[in-house]
């Protein structure tokens, strides 16, 4: 075999680094959306590689629903300190207090949808012109058609029928006043690629991804973590289980998996054997067949 040949992880890495550098070069005020989940952790790592030995030429932005796993916040703060990045936090609670967002009620109440309002407000407040995020095309079918450089109008909306053609590695980030871009540097990665890369690069991960004991309850076939703001139905019972998170998002809609995987290798083995998509545990996607598409049109990530 030709020795001048990259394996798939290095090729994906190279593509993502190219996209991240393109953002830094083409935009005046880019920002990297950081949720504390594995995808945003990987993008942050790629961004460090892209600009090393310089620091990140953009801040990290965490849209904080207030419904977090404490481990996520600890990890976030440690990482920011370690890499010397600037962190901006947009609080969903603040949007609710200002009356811009209305808290959902009922058993399945979640602040996941409200994030969009806080995100768009924060983008406007800081005049960010490009927000990078960890969305991947393999996650959900509406995402399969998303561009690397995704143009958003003045209202932050996505028009799936009118996307800019994106060819080769030429990314058109030109825009009019008030418009901005969402950029997805790891568009072409799968869940498996992400974990393989974490292993390859030995990236430190939040403890939530590894097996631990947690109080959980089962709703619609999905295990959810209990939390002070979660209401249990009469038929639901909290119990201690051995679990790990497959995705990390807002606690109210992040399903946990019964798992004893305690190392990256074990997680990868588990994913290789698993038969349900990672978003299968996301209550937010189950709302309707086009749930993701609708949220994206509104300006959701």
């Amino acid at each position: 075999m030709n020795k001048h040949h990259l394996n798939h992880l290095r090729e994906l890495e190279s593509e993502s680094i190219y996209v991240i550098r393109e953002v830094a070069a083409q935009f005046e005020r880019p920002v990297l959306l950081f949720s504390g989940g594995k995808d945003s952790i990987v993008i942050t790592h790629l961004a460090r590689k892209a600009f090393y030995p310089a620091k990140l030429p953009f801040p990290l932005l965490h849209i904080d629903t207030g419904h977090n796993f404490q481990e996520t916040l600890d990890y976030r703060d440690d990482l920011v300190k370690k890499i010397g990045a600037q962190l901006i936090v947009g609080l969903v609670q603040e949007s609710i207090d200002k009356g811009k967002a209305v808290e959902e009620s009922g058993y399945n109440a979640s602040r996941n949808v409200l994030q969009t309002i806080t995100l768009l407000d924060t983008i406007e407040k800081y005049k960010f012109d490009a927000a990078m995020g960890g969305a991947r095309r393999d996650e959900e079918k509406a995402r399969a058609k998303e561009r690397f450089f995704s143009h958003r109008d003045e209202f932050g909306q996505w028009d799936p029928k009118n996307q800019r053609p994106e060819l080769w590695n030429i990314f058109n980030g030109k825009k009019n006043m008030g418009e901005h871009f969402r950029v997805f540097p790891i568009s072409n990665w799968t869940e498996m690629d992400v974990w393989q890369y974490i292993l390859l690069e030995n990236i430190e991960m939040p403890s939530l991804y590894f097996t631990h004991q947690r109080e959980v309850f089962c709703r619609d076939g999905v295990w959810l973590a209990t939390a002070p703001f979660m209401k249990l139905k009469n038929t639901e019972k909290a119990e201690i289980k051995t679990v790990r998170c497959r995705t990390i998002g807002d606690i109210t809609c992040t399903g946990v998996t019964l798992s004893e995987a305690n190392t990256l290798e074990e997680i990868i083995g588990e994913i290789a054997a698993t038969r349900v998509t990672e978003r299968g545990g996301r209550a937010d996607d189950k709302r309707s067949d086009a749930a993701m598409e609708d949220r994206k049109r509104e300006g959701y990530f």
């Binding site: 075999m1 030709n2 001048h4 040949h5 394996n7 798939h8 992880l9 090729e11 994906l12 190279s14 593509e15 190219y18 550098r21 393109e22 830094a24 070069a25 460090r48 590689k49 892209a50 600009f51 090393y52 030995p53 310089a54 095309r137 393999d138 079918k141 509406a142 399969a144 058609k145 799936p160 029928k161 996307q163 800019r164 053609p165 994106e166 060819l167 080769w168 590695n169 030429i170 058109n172 072409n188 799968t190 498996m192 690629d193 393989q196 292993l199 390859l200 290798e265 990868i268 083995g269 290789a272 054997a273 698993t274 038969r275 349900v276 998509t277 299968g280 067949d289 086009a290 598409e293």
Partner: protein, 423 residues
């Protein structure tokens, strides 16, 4: 998916595109590839089963796996390029799933732009038709290195070898006209699964491997140009910290050739020569960089270099000129304006250009050159002449897909309106 850890860490990535007419069974084929390679998850399959029953289909409609947007499901068509992912123990695959309608040439061009291979689907009952020629032409225009022609719906022609051979022959006649290096033929039934992932029991006369085995084994390691060294400077890294006070790194992705530590290089457009001091990626110092690696180069001498410049090796000079001839595909409702000004993006450069002339249009169904009608509208393919405000540093598209491609952007709307292949 069978799984070995080290094996998985060292797989190749193959990007391919699929082209077929509306009823050639393209979505079914992709569904079949995903399903038989066990890349479909239970919850996805459940959703498709539910939808199939709802639509009154007799079997699980695998085509529904790939319908993304609501309007597509409503209309039962694919509107936009969709990207799909699957892996076998040998390779990871990215499919650019492009719709086959006449009006969607632009999507096919988009999907083809990054592909190593193209699957061209032919309905065994219809043989080579006008659209087959169009798909093949676009694949070759975009210089996709490998073509796999799938003759589908073999179940509907009783799996007859003659049908396969006749279509193969008529395709080959056509293929001799266009520029194809590597073409293979597979008789399949996407619906029944024959020769997609599993070998067909119905076509013992065919012995050249299933579609999947072909996709797993096409040699792609030489798809890049390793001869002509090209490094478009993307970003200048200047840490300005006490620790790295004087560090100046030129970040970019190798577009061609091999750069080694200590190599003499020329910086264009200035023409100044210097040597590579180090090739860095994060904390690692590399001996060599080759396509498509993203790295950072530091040079021996302090030279004024910025984004849009190109670092090359002096044994192979690119063309430097303000006059460019390119074959373009028009991507916008608003037609090309002769004499019009556009923004032009090429590698990491962003300049302005003026359209001087339309030399001819190409009839994508017959490949005939049209010289008496020079209106270039949506989905038109034409050879044009451009003049840029500053010299462009480029190669022909045939020589290098990165340094030979460009896009045209409308100055008012900022939309990407045209895409071009130089030469």
């Amino acid at each position: 998916m069978s799984f070995s850890n080290n094996g998985y860490l060292d797989m190749e990535l193959l990007r391919f595109t699929t082209a077929g007419s509306v009823d050639d069974g393209k979505s079914t084929l992709i569904g079949r590839l995903l399903y038989d390679s066990k890349s479909i998850f239970e919850d996805q399959l459940e959703a498709v089963k539910r939808a199939s029953i709802q639509k009154g289909n007799d079997y699980i409609n695998l085509a529904l796996l790939t319908d993304g947007l609501r309007s597509e499901r409503e209309q039962g068509i694919t509107i936009d390029v969709a990207y799909r992912y699957f892996a076998t123990p040998k390779r990871k695959f990215i499919i650019a799933d492009t719709p086959g309608h006449v009006q969607y040439t632009r999507n096919m061009v988009t999907g083809a732009s990054t592909a190593n291979a193209a699957i061209i689907l032919i309905d065994a009952r219809n043989g080579v038709i006008e659209q087959t020629l169009r798909h093949t032409f676009i694949a070759t225009l975009l210089q996709i290195p490998h073509l796999v022609v799938c003759i589908n719906k073999m179940d509907l022609v009783d799996f007859k070898e003659e049908v396969f051979e006749t279509i193969k022959k008529s395709f080959s006649t056509f293929a001799s006209v266009v520029d194809i290096n590597d073409v293979r033929f597979v008789p399949i039934s996407a619906l029944k699964g024959d020769n997609v992932v599993d070998e067909s029991q119905n076509m013992p006369w065919y012995k050249e491997g299933t579609l999947m085995s072909i996709l797993e084994s096409i040699p792609i390691e030489n798809d890049y140009n390793f001869t002509d060294a090209r490094f478009p400077v993307q970003y200048v890294i200047r840490p300005l910290t006490d620790e790295h006070h004087d560090y100046r790194g030129y970040a970019g992705r190798v577009a061609g050739g091999i750069f080694a530590d200590g190599d003499t290089v020329t910086v264009l457009p200035s023409g100044i020569k210097t040597k590579i001091k180090s090739i860095d990626l994060f904390e690692t110092k590399l001996n060599e960089a080759f396509p498509p690696m993203s790295v950072s180069l530091s040079l021996e001498d302090d030279i004024d270099i910025s984004r849009g410049d190109m670092i090359i090796k002096p044994d192979s000079m690119p063309t430097i000129s303000q006059d460019i001839e390119a074959t373009i595909c028009w991507m916008n409702q608003k037609p090309l304006r002769i004499g019009g000004k556009y923004n032009l993006m090429h590698t990491t450069r962003d300049i302005k250009c003026i359209v001087k002339e339309v030399l001819y249009k190409i009839n994508v169904n017959t490949l005939a050159q049209i010289t008496d009608d020079k209106d270039v509208g949506l989905n038109s393919i034409a050879k044009i002449k451009l003049k840029t405000t500053k010299p462009l540093i480029f190669d022909t598209y045939k020589k290098n897909r990165v340094t030979g491609s460009l896009i045209l952007i409308d100055e008012a709307t900022n939309e990407t309106v045209g895409v071009g292949m130089i030469g």
